[in-house]
């Protein structure tokens, strides 16, 4: 193997890739050849580093220099200065990674220092398209250990002892699930990896698949051995082309090395994995709908029981686990259940990956021990709300979850604490809201999503969520009454209790939780016809103040000609005709147009 003196790691995750990190990598490769350094410096495309806000990201070793917001035209200078002459180009570095003139190591940077990386341990560290880099980081050691030194019963016991709970949203104990499927006799059993990841704003599973695909393959084989399955499927949405490509490469390499296929580690155990592409319907993330989709049926859920562990794919015993859940498995096998329990909380051991988004400075992916407080995540890691705005609430659990207000910001995050607050962990989306967000509008956003994604099989979800959305529309238009608020609440509770699957059962959560914590905001819309955050368009009016100099710019911009006034005279907006597009406000050079 050729030995390089320097490695250039370019983030090849979907986020950085969409800001042209592939072209940045290409330019590095070209320039390095031009300078005759190609035998000394290796360029590698990795998975996500997590700090997506600062992307595209390039890290150069051995120094560990963290270049952020990279641009193609910065590459040449970095090659000439840093790689050729050994002078780090400080002005291109991520500011936080410099302590005066000294380079901090990555785990000293605020964004990373409170994180604990288990599921993401290899993301941004290895080349996901090279199995030897995974092996160098103890890859497939857990599978080897399981196949040569442990019985299936032992494996399930370790999983039970670890207390690992499903990261796909439900939080069900993984060891228990495997234990249900193992004793069932059948000519064929299956292991399914759920990589559907439908929550808007969530991208942890994508990042694991893009940055460390072998961890998922290894875990699936371990699960197969534990329950007696020889076949696995990965159900991944077609919108994740990079993840799919890396999975395909990984499966090919694992087969070639005999880490998948027949008689692995000479143990007599066979395991193969196939990829199935989903079309991106949210409901197909629900396990019974997902199974139907793999079978070639329409992706609709069915009643449980029977649970998949008894009657799953093609009617055979099946376990289905989330990507992040699986990514923890090899680590638990290697380091033991006690190690896993040594971080996290009593009832939710280990870590959880969250996708931080919304009104937050450091948008990105963070992995924290369970039991970390919301405050630490939002302020210490996330850097707080931008522009000094006040934090208002954080929405967790996506369309199935709810919001948590500033009063509860010192809550220690785990499965149970979030549920107690009327929200949930979900898959780990975390959307931060500041004073400029209208909570009715947020609830409406998520409900609109579930209405669109409802599969239509059961009436409460198909009809009920639509009626809820209609009431929300009335509220945001200032046309609702207090009775409508009661109706909304009643309907929400009914749907929760009667819908067929988790989609409908949780769809009312965003509405219920915002009504619980921000009742006064709902009432302001209804009683005063006012949107306190100034978001709901129908309730806004644009006015021209005395500061108007009569320049006529606004009137010229107005697309519906509703601004009256002559040169050097105060202008007036005709409220009946105004469509509230805001064009006048942008055009006014004297800031004399205000929203009320």
């Amino acid at each position: 193997m050729a030995l390089y003196r320097s490695h250039v790691l370019v983030c090849g995750g979907t986020g950085c890739n969409s800001s042209k990190s592939d072209m940045i990598r290409q330019r590095f490769e070209e320039k390095i050849i031009e300078m005759g350094l190609d035998k000394e410096v290796q360029v590698i495309s990795t998975g996500c580093f997590g700090l997506c806000e600062e992307g595209p990201i390039v890290v150069i070793y051995p120094e560990g220099a963290f270049y952020s917001r990279m641009k193609i035209d910065r590459v040449d200078r970095i090659v000439e200065e840093h790689l050729f002459k050994g002078r780090i180009v400080k002005e291109y570095l991520y500011e936080e990674s410099l302590d005066k003139d000294k380079l901090k190591s990555l785990n000293e940077v605020d964004f990373y220092s409170k994180q604990k990386r288990v599921a993401l341990r290899n993301c941004g560290v290895i080349n996901p398209e090279d199995i030897s880099e995974y092996i160098a980081r103890d890859g497939y050691l857990a599978l080897g250990k399981v196949l040569t030194e442990m019985t299936p019963v032992d494996v399930i016991q370790v999983m039970k002892d670890s207390g690992l709970r499903g990261r796909g949203g439900g939080g069900f104990h993984t060891g228990l699930k495997w234990g249900f499927a193992a004793p069932n006799q059948a000519d064929q059993k299956y292991v399914i990896c759920n990589a559907d990841e439908g929550d808007p704003g969530a991208f942890m599973d994508r990042s694991v698949l893009e940055g460390d695909p072998h961890a998922v393959l290894e875990a699936m084989a371990i699960a197969g051995y534990a329950i007696g399955a020889t076949k696995g499927f990965i159900y991944v949405r077609a919108e994740y082309p990079i993840a799919v490509k890396r999975l395909e490469i990984a499966i090919g390499q694992a087969k070639e090395m005999g880490l998948l296929g027949k008689n692995i580690f000479d143990s007599g155990f066979d395991f193969e994995i196939e990829i199935r592409l989903g079309a991106g319907a949210f409901v197909c993330g629900e396990e019974t709908a997902l199974i139907a989709s793999i079978e070639g049926q329409r992706g609709m859920p069915r009643n449980k029981p029977p649970f998949p562990a008894i009657k799953g794919l093609f009617g055979k015993p099946t376990i289905i686990n989330n990507v992040e859940t699986l990514a923890n498995v090899p680590q638990i096998i290697i380091n033991g259940a006690d190690w896993f329990r040594s971080f996290g909380s009593e009832k939710s051991p280990g870590t959880k990956v969250f996708a931080l988004g919304g009104k937050i400075n450091n948008t990105g992916l963070v992995e924290i021990p369970m039991g970390t407080t919301l405050r630490e995540v939002i302020y210490d890691i996330g850097g707080g709300c931008p522009n000094g705005k006040a934090f208002k609430a954080v929405q967790t659990g996506g369309p199935s979850g709810g919001c948590i207000t500033a009063d509860y910001i010192d809550t220690k995050i785990d499965f149970d604490t979030l549920t107690d607050l009327g929200s949930m962990m979900g898959s780990g989306g975390m959307i931060v809201m500041d004073e400029d967000n209208c909570m009715v509008d947020i609830a409406r956003f998520f409900l609109e999503f579930t209405v669109e994604e409802s599969c239509g099989k059961c009436t409460p979800c198909r009809e009920g969520t639509k009626r809820m959305l209609e009431i929300l529309d009335l509220i945001t238009q200032g046309k609702a009454t207090l009775e409508d608020l009661d109706k909304l609440e009643k309907l929400a509770i009914n749907i929760k209790n009667t819908a067929l699957c988790g989609l409908g059962q949780t769809a009312p959560n965003p509405v219920l939780s915002t009504m619980r914590y921000f009742r006064e905001e709902y009432e302001a819309h209804v009683l005063e016809k006012r949107c306190p955050a100034g978001v709901c368009k129908s309730l806004l009016s644009y006015y021209i103040t005395e500061d108007c100099r009569g320049c006529t710019k606004c009137a010229k911009q107005c697309p519906v000609n509703c601004i009256e006034g002559s040169v050097k005279k105060l202008h007036i907006i005709d409220q009946d005709k105004c469509i509230k597009c805001g064009a006048c406000m942008e055009a006014c050079p004297f800031d004399s147009i205000i929203i009320k």
């Binding site: 193997m1 051995p62 120094e63 050994g86 160098a136 980081r137 080897g144 692995i264």
Partner: protein, 121 residues
């Protein structure tokens, strides 16, 4: 893949390459690589350090380059820092000297006084 040992052997080999990405090492070898250093032959000096350190599995040694150290006539210059010890500066380095410095200084902790800047005077 037949045995765990087979996998471990592959791992040891593969690890050599990834060692480079560990930034927690406490011994630093710094090679001056400005124009002056490069023209005096710093490039093979650096590469030899990388190879020797890997061959001898010195997991705690980080080999990095730096810009001009400011004594261009003595290039190639190499500085070695060990925890709690004073920095040692080697001058007029070449690949043979590198091998000796690795085995004497990095492995056995004995500074090769003859190659140091102190020996010049």
């Amino acid at each position: 893949m037949k045995t765990l040992d087979e996998l471990k052997k592959i791992r040891e080999d593969a690890k050599k390459n990834l060692e480079l990405r560990n930034t927690d090492k406490t011994i630093r070898v710094v090679v001056g690589m400005a124009t002056c250093g490069i023209s005096a032959g710093a490039r093979p000096v650096l590469q030899t350090f990388v190879e020797e350190v890997s061959k001898r599995k010195l997991h705690n040694v980080q080999v990095v380059q730096t810009g001009c150290i400011g004594m261009c006539t003595y290039e190639p210059i190499v500085e070695i820092t060990m925890p709690n010890e004073e920095k040692v500066t080697y001058v007029f380095m070449d690949t043979d000297k590198v091998k000796k410095v690795v085995s004497d200084h990095l492995v056995n902790g004995r500074v090769v006084v003859d190659y140091t800047i102190g020996a010049l005077k």
